[in-house]
């Protein structure tokens, strides 16, 4: 019992202290060494840039976020559907799974130019790129989950003459749910990475510019402080996506899955 409260407190405080110390050191080094703001701006300069360029950067963030979330949703739906097909047909799984792997291991930067040429609509092109990066963890995790049903429960379902649809609905899908959510957690970060990489490759690509292009642009103009500000927004977005999925997963699994159950008082 003793020591648990301080532990929880430290969990929040310790990283904050580390962050503050690093930022202070950074600011100190920049000032003492007199490093030019177009090479390495200090945290204060970055904060200023965040304040002045914030509104326009937020507009770009929204563009990137839209692609990310759309890609994540597509990855969840299509990834889940593909995993479902795989679990229904072993033949389908062994014939198609290697191609899913190939798609996953080929660097998206290398395929993105092709996709951007082939797909006329820029939003859709970026979406496809982000989806390719994001769908695999969901497919692979959910496939494992769908095949992980307790063998005795499978036997019990057979004993009561359950139809394949019943077995799927009442046994395989619930079993696969934690696996699916774990895949979703990985895919959330990957969708953002995919969207940013695709934007880098695509350039402006139309009337709307995403955050990635703003980073490139800031680099060309040596507006390094703005570059950092955009970078900060991207990281914050990634963290927010992760936390949102984590929360969702805890809410869904809170009653029964060990990963989501609150620690119990001994």
């Amino acid at each position: 019992m003793r020591g648990r409260r301080p532990d929880r407190w430290w969990r929040i405080a310790a990283p904050l202290i580390v962050g503050a110390v690093v930022l202070a050191l950074w600011e100190a080094v920049v000032r003492i060494e007199g490093i030019a703001v177009y090479i390495l701006p200090g945290p204060i300069a970055i904060a200023k840039a965040l304040w002045t360029d914030g509104p326009s950067l937020l507009g770009s963030l929204l563009v990137t976020l839209r692609i990310t979330l759309a890609a994540l949703a597509a990855a969840a739906i299509l990834g889940g559907a593909i995993a479902l097909l795989f679990s229904l047909s072993r033949l389908l799984e062994i014939s198609l799974f290697p191609y899913a792997v190939i798609l996953q291991v080929t660097p998206i930067v290398a395929i993105a130019p092709l996709i951007i040429i082939w797909v006329q609509q820029p939003f859709v092109a970026l979406l496809v790129c982000a989806w390719i990066v994001a769908f695999f963890p969901i497919v692979s995790n959910t496939t494992i989950g769908l095949n992980s049903a307790d063998r005795n429960l499978v036997a019990l379902f057979r004993l009561y003459g359950a139809s394949p649809a019943q077995t799927l609905r009442y046994l395989k899908l619930p079993t696969a749910l934690p696996y699916f959510l774990a895949g979703l957690r990985i895919s959330g970060g990957l969708a953002l990475i995919g969207a940013v990489v695709a934007e880098f490759v695509a350039g402006t690509g139309g009337a709307e510019t995403g955050l990635a292009f703003r980073i490139l642009e800031a680099g060309y103009r040596l507006a390094i402080a703005r570059m950092f500000a955009a970078l900060f927004l991207l990281s914050a977005t990634g963290v927010a996506i992760y936390l949102a999925i984590d929360l969702l997963s805890r809410l869904i699994l809170r009653h029964w899955h060990e990963s989501a159950v609150e620690e119990e008082e001994e």
Partner: protein, 265 residues
Amino acid sequence: MFESPAAAASPIVELRGIAKHFAGGVRALDPIDLDIARGEFLSLLGPSGCGKTTLLRIIAGLSRPSAGERRLDLGRGSERPAGQIGFVFQDPTLMPWSTVTGNVLLPFRLVGRIGQAERARAAAEIRAVGLAGFERAYPRQLSGGMRMRVSIARALVTDPDLLLLDEPFAALDEITRMALNDDLMRLWESRRPTVVFVTHSVFESVYLSTRIAVMTARPGRIAAELAVDLPHPRERALRTAPAYAAICAAASRHLAEAMAAENAR
């Protein structure tokens, strides 16, 4: 099926020459003939690896014998055994995402529909195994013994003619095990389903059964059969009665003889 006296006297399970070998030539079961009478409590007693679980799964229809014939007469004129056989595994085998009620309702969900009557049945069954008040608990919130009670309630909820239990209490501590023995005995005495109970405990088998089939391993076969003529209702006091001790001694002797014969071969 007509309800003639002859039919009533016919065994609920008839096994003729049931054998099972696994790939690689392992003889799990040598040809076994076994009749199980309606309403009896039969224990399959033997060391681990003697094929008693395999035999139980064959009776349930979960495993196909390599040879021989299995006939079930579940007495309701239906070939589809769904809901007429209850099975309790070594592990509670509950769905962790479902509440106690959800788990106990599973057989109804799979066999047909869940209505008012089925919900009432499930609630009654949960009370019967002593879990009133835990209807909305999830399996992870329960102790091992309580989970096993849920598993038993689930097996009983369809009021099956045939209840198959595969070493259900092997993983429990002695105190919980005895409590569950008593509860199972009470349930059987009040409803008299046909029970096939797999165990490696001599004391448990004698306490619960009306008949014991002693099995030996490599290959699995029934080495001896033993009627347990102890009065009902059976209660705690029986465990210290001389008659109980005498039958335990006899069962142990059969088991020892069978295993000696097996080792001599």
